[in-house]
């Protein structure tokens, strides 16, 4: 839009008084803040004020979406991003922007006549409101991204496939088996089966709080996919209350199940031609000892 004289005056007010405004501004919120250093706040404030002076001179104060405000928006985005990561709340972050009102308004009051001052106050106030809202939105976006990323990390973390023995892998399932996670779980398991050439996969559901039809369906799909890759599945950790519930749901899992992971491992070892025996004091297994005595 066309640059008006009023706008020019407003811009000059910021540019000419930059050092002073900055000092006043920082004073309003510096007290007792420990999460960021004074220098950091000062640098952020200085950059922002400088960019703001330029934007007000060139652009429309009623439209912070215009290209003239690109730099201001970029600075605010970076600023709210770092505040979000440093653990500031949205209102604390927005307060940084809003607290610029006080020093700016003081300058307006002390330099302009009453009529001009009223116009300038109005323009500046709505400009800072827009910038404050923009900051809150940018902050929220960063936080959402952060939460999403943590969630993805947790999904990855909580689905480790462990190799228990030659040819035997186990998947300890923990938490809610919603569709997103199950996808990851299944993928991990199948990849590990291929990599290790496992014959038996144990799905341990001790850590799954609820087995409803959706979870059952996910389990069934996992079992048949594993079968296609050449591995048989054993489900372990079905607690009694879960077992009763599955029966009443009328879902047939059609897969061998064992009460505990240990029982499942014993079965898996047996199926792959191994047994577990107690070792006597001499360090030899009873079986070996018996064979020795017979021999």
């Amino acid at each position: 839009m066309a640059k008006s004289a009023a706008q020019g005056a407003l811009a000059r007010l910021i540019t000419d008084g930059e050092a002073e405004i900055l000092a006043d501004w920082l004073r309003t919120f510096a007290t007792g803040e420990t999460r960021i250093s004074e220098q950091e706040a000062k640098a952020q404030g200085k950059d922002l004020l400088h960019a703001l002076g330029k934007a007000v001179a060139d652009g429309n104060v009623a439209d912070i979406g215009s290209p003239d405000y690109d730099e201001v928006r970029d600075l605010l985005t970076g600023f709210s991003r770092s505040r979000a990561l440093q653990g500031f709340s949205p209102s604390e972050t927005a307060t940084f922007v809003f607290s610029l009102k006080q020093p700016l308004f003081e300058r307006i009051r002390s330099t302009a006549d009453v009529k001009t001052a009223a116009d300038q106050l109005w323009a500046m106030s709505s400009l800072l409101d827009q910038l404050g809202m923009f900051t809150v939105e940018a902050f929220q976006k960063t936080r959402d991204e952060l939460i999403m990323r943590q969630r993805e990390e947790i999904e990855e973390l909580s689905t480790p496939v462990v190799k228990l023995w030659e040819g035997i892998v186990a998947l300890p399932l923990i938490g809610t088996l919603d569709s997103g996670r199950t996808q990851v779980v299944m993928q991990n398991l199948l990849e590990t089966i291929v990599q290790t050439g496992a014959e038996i996969a144990i799905l341990d559901i001790t850590g799954v709080p609820t087995v409803d039809t959706l979870v059952a369906q996910h389990l069934l799909k996992t079992v048949s996919a594993a079968r296609l890759m050449g591995a048989d599945c054993i489900i372990s950790g079905i607690r009694p209350q879960i077992a009763q519930t599955i029966v009443q749901l009328g879902v047939q899992l059609n897969v061998v199940s064992k009460a505990t992971l240990a029982d499942a491992l014993a079965l898996a070892l047996k199926r792959t031609g191994r047994t577990v025996e107690k070792v006597n004091k001499s360090g030899r297994s009873d079986g070996a000892l018996a064979a020795e005595m017979r021999g």
Partner: protein
Amino acid sequence: MATTTETLAIVSGDDVVRVRQKVRVRATEAGLSLVDQTKLITAASELARNTLDYGKGGHADIMTVNDTARRGVRIVFRDQGPGIPDVALALTDGFTSGNGLGHGLGGARRLVDDFDIQTAVGQGTTVTIARWRK
């Protein structure tokens, strides 16, 4: 004591998880046994997901019932979706109009003490369940 009702919106998969968590808290408070808790939570999970998947979203009213006669948890799932044209068929194990196992509705009915379903095509569905302390 009368009843205290808590209403949860069901519009996403996370809300289904939230319904389960709230029902777990209520069922524990009402003194349901571990088996009864698990059955009620599982039934609630089924119905919440049906509300989401087929009812196009809705609400769950979770209430603790504590009168002289009995103590337990009642939950009402309501949506304003397409409704169920044939309830008997929907309750039949193995019937699904989506790609589920088709055991949710019938299973939920078997898992609770009280089960009521009100539905009409074009007017939505309301399913009420309750499990009482034995």
